[in-house]
Amino acid sequence: MMQDASTPTQHPQSLPTRYDARQKVMGKATYAAEFNPPETLYAWMIQSTIPKGTILSVDTSAAEHASGVVKVLTCFNAPKLPKPKIQPPATRFVSLLQTPEVHYNGEPIGLVIAKTLAEAQYASSLVTFKYQAEKPQLDFEHHLAEARMPKRANTPPKEDHGEKEEAWKRAVTVFEQTYSTPFQTHNPLEPHATVAFWVGEKLTVYNSTQYVSGDKQTLAKTFALPLENVHVICPYVGGGFGCKGSSWSHVPLAAMAAKVVGKPVKLVLDRQQMFGPVGYRPRTVQKIKLGVDGDGKFVAIKHDVIMSTARVEDFVEPSAKQTDMLYACKNISTSHKMVDMDIGVGTFQRAPGEASGTPALESALDELAYKLKMDPLELRLRNYAEIDPGKQKRFTAKHLREAYQQAAERFGWSKLNPEPGSMRDGNKLIGWGMATATYPANRSAAGAVLRLMPDGKIMVGSGTQDIGTGTYTVMAQTVVEELGVDVSRVDAKLGDTDLPKAPVSGGSQSTASVGPAVKAACAQLKLKLATLVVDDAASPHHGAQTGDLEIKDGFLVSTKSSAHEPIAEIAKRHGEIEVKGEAEPNEDVKKGMSAHSWGAVFAEVEVDESSGMVKVRRVVATYDIGRLINKTTGTNQLQGGIVWGIGFALHEESALDKVYGRISNENLAEYHVPVNRDVPEIDVTVLDIPDTKFTPQGGRGIGEIGITGVAGAIANAVFHATGKRIRHFPITPDKVLMTPKESAEA
């Protein structure tokens, strides 16, 4: 409903519903694959079926004669491109039919372009490749000894603080253990999809992406185009979780195909194609060593990670990153090494680092607490970090102690009987566990544009993305808050490189980056309006000082008199008014102040004694994430993260075949994620204490912290239920059944 311009509205704190909810539930939200420019053709990606070698020849004759086929592209006939430089995060190693070399099983090696999808798919099955195969390296476990440092030094840095080895001598108790995490695949509901078309030398691409500006750069560079010739559009994304933060092969391939056939080309990946050529979370083996003094205070911590990597390009899953800052300790050492494998390139996956690192670290703390006969929560409180121990810098804000307290109370942790196996419900063993959650607060420079229209509508735009997380809502809400107008007057636009540049929707930074930019644009609008009206005889503010004017409830009001005027009236007289706003990280953060979010997670599980099946009964979590900008989208993000954590703990694993190098369980029936029956009551609360040292709005990102800590809490609860320590995720029934109980003195 249009707001009645004469009645100022209340100042809403938080939009109650998602800005884009109506479009989505009505099926009117247009996703990348749903764009159909006239005469669109369909491309299907052919992938290698060997892990390593060279393509000797290809027979495309049957495919070329098949019904509907327009073109078959392989390395033998694809247009030669200028060699693109790898530029993460915008670009990963891509396969653009430029070479006959095969680097991993599932690598794109051909493209069939046809009139329909069915014809393209069928014809692709008729293309036969002859390979010269080479012996691949596909065994992670047996090559740990060959692990090397990442090729690009200091990514992440090998941290070494304090006196190193000397410190261990002061430890009264030393605990050491090894944990491992599996390959995982992102599996957003919406697969990757690209629609590309050319008009002369201008390229337009509809793409499902977390970074329109990154795609734009990649495409411009790949095809040697001026940046302004590339237009990337992405109004909606059906989930990304990191795999859409980079431009993978299919994006330039769609553009290449469109160029070759001279028509728009649509290239959509199917579920199986989501496993391998578009990133995954690397496998890790993590060795953790903890030393404490007689009071249970850390004197030394060591966290050494070995992970898998593609031979063609390093991606570092920084699993030990949180260990540098999570607990107070003067001697912390962390490292990351990699084992080369002939597999596709890994990439960021929701909470890269912390998601795989906290299960190991938080399991280790639980094991140490049992060894010390100390409450696991008490061990964490005793080692509470008041400042960032790695950087030796103050935090912008930290209220983790309150989060522990609130979550523990809501869970009933004080009733804990620490004895493993002490709770039972029939055939089910019941266990409790807890862990700390954490994720860095990130923020980048971002821009926004605001247009006040003569009809009173306000367009707010930013070249950011909404990957289902609520960016539309936050942008609209910021305008509502700053200008006091009803949301029905706000027209939010994003996912378009014609809008002001914004960062990748990754690292939980969109709200903290784009929100302040929109806020800055609103401030610019006030300035612009004030400047216009003081010289405008038709305005009640004629002759006023610009500094005495402000926007309140959709009116430009005077702080010195009762003069006020609806902002829409000003646009009626002056025509459309456009302003831009930009925002950069705060000075405090730029100077190295440490910014992180925090949380406390408690879990209750039941373990079936005869089968080893684990079911999570409840999760209670409290977070310190600064100000909760929007309750609906924010709480949803945290709950969704916890569901991911349950999947990390119990279900998710991409099983790599050691002979052929393919993920064997490459579909959603066999790659398990939690289903409704796996998800219990989730009790999420936030402290909601603004962190204005971090952003003017006081919010820190929340996209990823939800997954952290959860798997650790569940693993610890499984131990409490059974007396068994499962150190290799996921905790599947076979492992629970076959793992012996820990001996009492351990």
Partner: protein, 331 residues
């Protein structure tokens, strides 16, 4: 997916006539498995003969003992007579797949369901004797966590993924089929095959035959009071069984009068041994008896790199399933 012809038949005679005329044709029921495999280029029939409108095959009659091949899994599981007389079958069906799949999948189609072996389902793996006879078995050296521990051969270690089939095996169902030469009945134990040297052949059904009904012996309804279908899986729903057990008891006081026992997730067919059931007869219904039956059933089990756990899990599950069967139905 390859291009294919589609035809629709309205009665059983026409169905048999159509399939006998074309060795590359396949019947289309619910399509929940066949269409997926066609999309993945594993199955490539030249013609799909749609039998979903064939008259007279979509009813459950005779107190739940006679089940038409076109009865949908949801309808069968929720049929009042089946719930009353054959709750084991109902439980097994409801533990499988998802509501959406059960609403489409048919009884005959479930019998014909193909393995979930990764190496069978992905044509990019070159070695699969079931998909490409003579090509080898990639599962032997691969990720064989979901594979067979009983009755397998060096040619194939795939398992039958169905839950329904396990209950039918325990209840000793019969499969009624119709071919050009008339009708015949196949005991469920002989319907599914072990892989042997010809793992490409899942069942003893001939190409030109149509499944018309599944019949349950009326005496099997005596297991109704004490039966349980236990499914151990990687998540609480929508996952294939690592191990499943269909267990039924006929009790005389504390003594077992007759037992029904079959396992899923462990072999190329539902795994049943008469000796295991017979060993329980006349014994007290307790963990010792159940455990002894499990030992007989699992005799000769052999695990591979990733699935040796199934042996212990299977034994535990037999004991647990009978314990729950003994408690009996609560409603």
């Amino acid at each position: 997916m390859n291009p294919f012809a589609y035809e629709r038949v309205m009665d059983d005679k026409a169905a048999v006539h159509a399939i006998a005329a074309n060795k590359d044709a396949k019947f289309l029921g619910g399509g929940t498995n066949l269409i997926d495999l066609m999309k993945d280029n594993v199955e490539h029939p030249s013609t799909l003969i749609d039998i979903t409108r064939v008259q007279g095959l979509a009813e459950v009659s005779n107190g739940g003992a006679m089940i038409g091949a076109l009865v949908r899994n949801s309808d069968l599981a929720n049929h009042a007579d089946v719930r009353k007389n054959y709750p084991l079958l109902s439980m097994a069906l409801l533990s499988g797949a998802s509501p959406q799949l059960r609403n489409l999948a048919t009884t005959g189609g479930n019998l014909m369901q193909r393995t979930r072996c990764y190496y069978f389902m992905d044509t990019a793996f070159p070695a699969c004797n079931k998909r490409k006879p003579g090509s080898g078995c990639a599962a032997l050296t691969g990720f064989n966590r979901i594979h067979a521990i009983l009755g397998q051969s060096e040619e194939c270690i795939a398992t039958n993924p169905s839950d329904m089939n396990v209950a039918l095996a325990a209840l000793q169902a019969e499969v009624h089929v119709e071919g050009p030469k008339g009708k015949r009945t196949i005991p469920i134990a002989e319907f599914h095959r072990l892989p042997g040297k010809t793992p490409q052949i899942d069942t003893t059904l001939k190409h030109e035959e149509l499944i018309t009904h599944v019949a349950l012996p009326s005496s099997a309804s005596e297991f109704a009071t004490h039966s349980y279908y236990l499914k151990v899986r990687d998540r609480q729903s929508y996952a294939f069984a690592l191990v499943s057990v269909a267990a039924g008891l006929m009790m005389e006081g504390d003594t077992i009068k007759r037992a029904a026992l079959a396992m899923g997730g462990v072999a190329h067919k539902p795994w049943r041994k008469k000796e295991a059931e017979d060993a329980m007869v006349g014994k007290q219904a307790n963990a010792q008896t159940f455990s002894a039956a499990a030992e007989i059933l699992l005799h000769g089990a052999k695990g591979y790199e990733h699935n040796s756990f199934k042996i212990e899990m299977a034994k535990n599950s037999v004991v647990r399933a009978f314990s729950l069967a003994l408690v009996g139905r609560t409603a």
